[in-house]
Symmetry: C2
Subunit: 304 residues, 2 copies
């Protein structure tokens, strides 16, 4: 197994202009795992309650994701409910019931410790560092964070940032973390905090990668029907890291071309995620469909 | 002379986070002409007052732009004043003194009528149609518009749209004109109104071209220092149309590759425009600088 992710596994209720779903499996680690599973072998570390049934496990199993690190404890699984605005640009959280996630203390099964690629999903930065401490020198550590931790857990987050090589966050988080509106300045400030590589996810405006003097930027695929933006960012991270875990060579600095392809595969997985509610589209893909959409990005952006 | 533009020639006062300028030459036709002049020969149709001095004329003259169509009448030149927010995303208009522009009735010098490429800058759509009516079958007619005309002059704007082959507007205008938030749907609706090609300018999120089944999308160049966004959209249109006027073959459908290159050159000129106040940067460029920035777009977006 090549790639380990720690993050939330949840039940979501969402309402979007295209409809509503009362309860479906979600969570950052779930979207990430499923997206990454098309590229590499994935292990997930998280916690669920005793309401997490076989059919929910099936989402991981059918994609070959190892769930030995998915702890099951008495109580209810993390539940989140949200509603999107008509233009999908704004999301209102209606319910956040942390449930068993409130006392989550990620423990890695011993044989997980040698996994070469680690993704620290969006959880308390102290837990992110705790997971990292349990690992035996992974080749690459990447992570995500959010406004909550930037505001309330700054010292812990700075400790996490010193440990990771790649940070994958959205534009508003990058601005908040750096205190800079301009994304070039924001990227410089964030990279000075630790991560050598920064990927800024910009929703329907695409994604931009910053690394040393290099910037790679890609628009989003123009989609006519967006059903549900939930999980798009986590799916991006899963596609990006899954591709890297499959193609990087340990001990060798990532080649710019490989990083660029990883950004495209991330964008591809993000674009699939929003085309149906929850994981409905993402879990039923084939590799040819994924590569066809990669080609679509090429046609979208190509010029000579 | 290949390209004719009609639009505003103005004095602007702007305040941005990087400073303020009390009075400098601006206007949509001015930015457009100067940007286009690096690619092709340009004629400008507009009106100025008797406060428009030789030094202001010089902006056109030094770029080889023909100003025979720039009428000079008694009174003051159009004056606009605006202020940008700290993040540059919002602009507040402080003063709009139309002055001589209020009674502008564009009259084309007779030898202007055979100009093969026409750009109808952002003026009352009735005047846009009036200019078009004076032309002898131009090869390509493109145009711009704005929220004011979309709201207050809808029937006249629809008449203009039936006359033009390409529309170059920003994303908020595209949404307002079509009533669709989704840009793919917006583009379909707008193209059904007349223009075969639609270019949507998206500021620091880049630009997207729609034509038949084809979509071409490009991010903006990440810039660390934006001094003054005024005129960026007009400079984009100037670079785009200037390149087309120099490279299209009359009677032959524009090749996709040529249109794509035109979008890049438009983006290049827009990126230069914002790097200093007013026309300060744009009027002092060299073709090698422009082509170097074109290559920068290639490096920014290239993947295999």
């Amino acid at each position: 197994m090549r790639l380990l992710v720690v993050g939330s596994v949840a039940f979501d209720a969402v309402r979007t202009p295209r409809g509503a779903v009362d309860r479906m499996i979600g969570g950052s680690a779930t979207y990430f795992s499923v997206a990454a599973s098309y590229f590499t072998q994935v292990r997930v570390v998280g916690v669920v309650g005793d309401d997490f049934e076989d059919e929910h496990h099936q989402v991981f199993i059918e994609r070959g994701v190892c769930t030995e690190g998915l702890e099951r404890v008495p109580g209810k699984t993390f539940f989140w409910s949200g509603e999107y605005s008509a233009d999908l640009n704004n999301r209102t959280t209606l319910v956040t019931d942390l449930n068993v996630f409130a006392s989550f203390e990620p423990k890695l099964p011993p044989h997980y410790r040698q996994t070469p690629y680690l993704f620290l999903g969006n959880i308390d930065p102290e837990l992110q560092s705790h997971v990292h401490s349990q690992m035996d020198a992974p080749h690459l550590v990447a992570g995500d964070t959010m406004n909550l931790w930037i505001e309330s857990r700054r010292p812990q987050l700075e400790e996490t940032l010193r440990r990771i090589g790649m940070l994958i966050i959205n534009d508003s988080e990058a601005r908040m973390l750096s205190g800079e509106h301009n994304l070039v300045k924001a990227a410089r400030a964030i990279r000075a905090m630790g991560p050598e590589t920064l990927v800024i996810k910009r929703g329907d405006n695409g994604a931009t990668l910053f690394r040393n003097g290099e910037i790679f930027s890609i628009p989003a695929l123009p989609l006519e029907d967006v059903f549900d933006p939930t999980g798009a960012g986590d799916s991006f991270a899963g596609g990006f890291m899954g591709y890297l875990a499959a193609h990087l060579v340990p001990g060798i600095t990532p080649a710019p071309d490989v990083l660029r392809r990883a950004v495209i595969y991330g964008s591809v997985m993000g674009s699939f995620a929003v085309e149906h509610f929850g994981l409905a589209r993402l879990r039923k893909l084939s590799r040819p469909e994924i590569d066809e959409r990669y080609d679509e990005f090429r046609r979208l952006t190509r010029f000579d």
